[in-house]
């Protein structure tokens, strides 16, 4: 089975693992994006994630469908959180289970790279100096690398 969602609650890593794992799968690969404390040299205190929720859900669903088609036998779940997140909190979680490790690992990489390119979610970073800024990966070298 596979599933994707935009959520406004904390992402539970164990729940994602449990959801995709089965005795027929010899590999479960996990990825979690978290809020870090710096951005382009500035101290970050938190990030406010917003989304065009209806399209974000649809685009996540398309990405999951592509992954399932690309990696036959894959079970994958992806959740992206919206709202105000503190440092270290999980913003995106992906769990992929497969009979073998290579497709499980490759699927997680595929999903996160497509999420970053295609899913309409935005970050409003809050900085230690009290300022805030919308993250634009097309104009920020560090975000392009991230």
């Amino acid at each position: 089975m596979s599933r994707s969602a935009i959520v406004a609650r904390p992402i539970d890593p164990g729940a994602l693992f449990t959801e995709v794992s089965s005795i027929g799968c010899g590999a479960v690969s996990l990825f979690f994006g978290t809020v870090r404390d710096t951005s382009d040299g500035q101290g970050v205190t938190g990030i406010d994630y917003t989304a065009y929720a209806a399209m974000a859900e649809a685009e996540l669903g398309r990405i999951v469908a592509e992954a399932v088609q690309r990696f036959t036998g894959l079970s994958v779940v992806v959740e992206h959180r919206v709202g105000v997140l503190g440092l270290g909190e999980i913003s995106v979680g992906i769990a992929a289970a497969h009979q073998h490790r290579a497709p499980a690992l490759d699927a997680v990489r595929y999903v996160i790279e497509e999420v970053k390119k295609r899913v309409p979610v935005w970050k409003l970073e809050h900085y230690t100096g009290g300022t805030r800024s919308w993250v634009d990966p097309t104009s920020r070298h560090s975000e392009v690398r991230a």
Partner: protein, 79 residues
């Protein structure tokens, strides 16, 4: 006229979650963007933003219906 949704930085720059844009039956995304550029708020937006139609990314030659759900999409930054 159609209502075009704005999000995140675009909504903040314009000061509204949507704008009203002239659109005729049979117009394409390129026509829509030309009409957006004619609005007083256009100077606050990029000249060629990504456009979503019915919750999927569209191209310049996508034909629009007056009933379509249309949005201007700022550079995405999920993850």
């Amino acid at each position: 006229m159609v209502t075009v949704q704005l999000f995140a930085s675009y909504a903040e720059l314009v000061g509204s979650p949507n704008i009203e844009v002239q659109l005729a039956q049979g117009d394409r995304v390129s026509d829509l963007l030309r009409n957006v550029r004619a609005l007083p708020v256009a100077s606050r937006l990029p000249a060629t933003p990504r456009v979503a139609v019915n919750r999927a990314f569209a191209t310049d030659d996508t034909v629009l219906e007056l009933s379509d759900e249309i949005a201007l999409i700022p550079p995405v930054a999920g993850g």
